[in-house]
């Protein structure tokens, strides 16, 4: 089992430089908006979500995680034509949950990252759909095969992406 329970003292907490903390989310937002124009299938990926999970798990701070999720989600919302807050709420919860998990579990290896991303992607989609339908009244189509396929694709991408983003980590 890749996920191992560790005591809080054993878990390393990382921090990021200010440029990295700003530019990485912005780059994720940019790629999410730009790449689907050339490759439409790319819209099944949610790069901002992966960045939220990465930062939340690495920082292991619940407040930092939920605030990161909130800001990135709101920015992502503002690029759509729908009301602002749908992605914001979903990513706030994911940021909080991922950082809570990061405090208790060692999620540094590829297997644990794969599973964490898989689970949090589905959680994110459930919250998004619930809020969009319940609060905003949007008619969205829920399809388990599609969601699970997207979750798997995002989980695979997360393993590769997190390995790249590890280079920006700084030990506290």
């Amino acid at each position: 089992m890749p996920i191992t329970y560790t005591s809080q003292e054993q878990v390393e907490v990382y921090r990021f430089s200010v440029p990295a903390a700003i530019l990485i989310p912005l780059a994720a937002l940019f790629l999410q908006a730009f790449v689907p124009l050339r490759f439409r299938f790319f819209s099944i990926f949610d790069l901002p979500l992966l960045v939220v999970i990465f930062f939340a798990v690495a920082r292991r701070s619940q407040v930092a995680g939920l605030l990161t999720g909130s800001v990135i989600g709101l920015l992502q919302d503002s690029l759509t034509h729908q009301p602002i807050g749908l992605y914001g709420i979903a990513k706030t919860v994911v940021g909080y949950g991922a950082s809570s998990l990061g405090v208790k579990l060692d999620v540094e290896n590829a297997g644990s990252r794969f599973l964490v991303t898989l689970v949090f992607y589905v959680v994110h989609e459930i919250i998004y759909f619930t809020v969009a339908r319940g609060l905003v009244g949007l008619t969205l189509l829920w399809s388990w095969p599609h969601e699970l396929g997207s979750a798997l694709a995002n989980a695979f991408l997360a393993v590769a992406l997190f390995a790249v983003l590890d280079k920006f980590k700084q030990r506290t």
Binding site: L26, L29, F30, Q32, A33, F34, P36, L37, R40, S43, I44, Q62, V63, L66, L67, S70, L74, L75, Q76, S78, L79, T80, H81, Q82, P83, I84, G85, L86, Y87, G88, I89, T92, V93, Y96, Y128, V131, A132, L135, V136, G137, L138, T139, L140, L141
Partner: protein, 438 residues
């Protein structure tokens, strides 16, 4: 209490942030689009992301332009030859189509139709998308500084793309027609059934509000109906791919958009539309009646004959008899009663040149005596024309009862009325060379 908040600090912050966002959502849902409360944050986000997108698109376009314009020129000469040949073919086609268009315009004028013209467009490059499967919208590199406004139609050469949803300084957000919040007034090309084109949650496009007992076949083209006051009438939207019984009494018609919404690079924003009655020149008005005269089924082709051997319909144009019914089509005639077919015959030669050149184009049936006779008066410009001769029979006596070709009510003489008139002009031989179609 204080201890409780300190103990559950993180959860408290989470609840507070979530509550703030839910409150914000509720406010946005309540407010209308005009009274948008989130404009500032959208401007920040768009201004943060789009400059980079714009830069990359510019670099990409410049690189492609450099490559295709200066390096990769293989086959360009052959392509140039092919295109020239194609231009020649299209010119011939254009003559025929412009003739049809001119006729259609005249008939529209007769019926009091108003035409919609796309009088101004702005070309724009697609620089980004929303990045969400639930929001099918794109960004273009033109904004309010370029005259873009909300609710303007966005099209490509293939068909309709969407409409302008939000406008920023140098960027605009376009809502695509496959988004489920979009709606386009549409009409089926053959059956002329009207409906509303909408996107679905799955990203498909469907035509709604068509009754289930209507005959709709796959393959039929869907055009804009103009009823939404955004898209001009007659633009191609898509093709029917599947028809099945839908909910309640309506059909479920699936439509494939003609524009490839997944590969948009450049679009046109319709910044100005005009609605006006079709402009028909004086000569055009006259010729609209001529065209009707040629096309009415009740008017058989008649050979030119002397007055005493005129067909039986000729006497119906006797001065004291009322004109036959005209199907309610009235031609607006200026008070001065300008030259109509008969008067054209007596018109000064100076007018003849311009009119004749147009007439030749619009009278493609030289075999029809009606056509040849109707065009005979325009002789001055024709090669076989003899202006003096054509003027001789032109006085009112020769032109039957009314030199203007109109009756007392201002209604232009119908074909039946106009028909015998050439017969009275037997002195003027038909000039078939004038009426040869180009």
């Amino acid at each position: 209490m204080e201890n409780l908040i300190t103990r559950y600090r993180n959860v408290t912050i989470l609840v507070a942030v979530l509550f703030a966002q839910v409150l914000g959502l509720a406010v946005q849902v309540k407010r209308t689009a005009e009274n948008e409360s989130t404009r500032l944050i959208r401007i920040w986000a768009v201004n943060t992301v789009t400059p980079l997108e714009r830069g990359i698109v510019w670099c990409q376009a410049s690189g492609a332009n450099l490559w295709h314009s200066y390096f990769y020129l293989r086959g360009v000469r052959q392509e140039n030859r092919d295109l020239k040949a194609q231009i020649e073919q299209l010119r011939l086609q254009q003559v025929r189509l412009s003739e049809d268009a001119e006729q259609a315009r005249r008939i529209q004028a007769l019926l009091g139709f108003k035409e919609q013209f796309i009088s101004q467009t702005v070309a724009a490059q697609v620089i980004g998308s929303s990045g969400s499967e639930q929001s099918r919208s794109i960004y273009i590199d033109k904004g309010s500084r370029d005259g873009i406004k909300t609710d303007m139609a966005v099209i490509t050469a293939e068909g309709v793309v969407g409409k302008v949803l939000r406008v920023f300084g140098s960027t605009s957000q376009i809502l695509l027609i496959d988004d489920q919040t979009s709606g386009v007034g549409a009409i089926l090309e053959k059956s002329r059934l009207q409906g509303v084109l909408r996107g679905t949650a799955a990203g498909e496009v469907v035509l709604e509000k068509v009754m289930s007992d209507e005959p709709v076949q796959p393959g039929e083209k869907v055009l804009t109906s103009g009823g939404d006051q955004i898209f001009p009438k007659g633009l191609p939207v898509g093709t029917v791919t599947k028809v099945s019984p839908g909910p309640q009494l309506f059909l479920n018609i699936r439509v494939k958009p003609t524009a490839d919404l997944g590969r948009l690079e450049e679009v046109l924003v319709i910044t100005q539309q005009e609605q006006r009655e079709p402009e028909v020149s004086e000569a055009g008005r006259v010729r609209a009646a001529d065209i009707l005269a040629q096309r009415l089924p009740s008017v058989p082709d008649q050979p030119v004959a002397p007055p005493n051997q005129a067909p039986s319909k000729a006497p119906s144009n006797a001065p004291n008899q009322p004109p036959p019914p005209t199907n309610g089509l009235k031609i607006p005639v200026p008070p001065s009663g300008p030259a109509k077919p008969n008067v054209t015959a007596a018109a000064p030669n100076s007018q003849g040149a311009g009119n004749a050149s147009q007439r030749v184009v619009a009278n493609p049936k030289p075999s029809s005596p009606a056509a040849t006779n109707a065009s005979t008066p325009t002789g001055p410009a024709g090669p076989a024309a003899k202006p003096d001769d054509t003027h001789k029979p032109a006085p009112p006596a020769a032109g039957a009862e009314n030199p203007t070709g109109t009756n007392a009510a201002g209604v232009l003489a119908t074909p039946a009325q106009a028909k015998p008139q050439p017969a009275t002009q037997t002195a003027v031989p038909p000039t078939p060379t004038e009426d040869k179609p180009q």
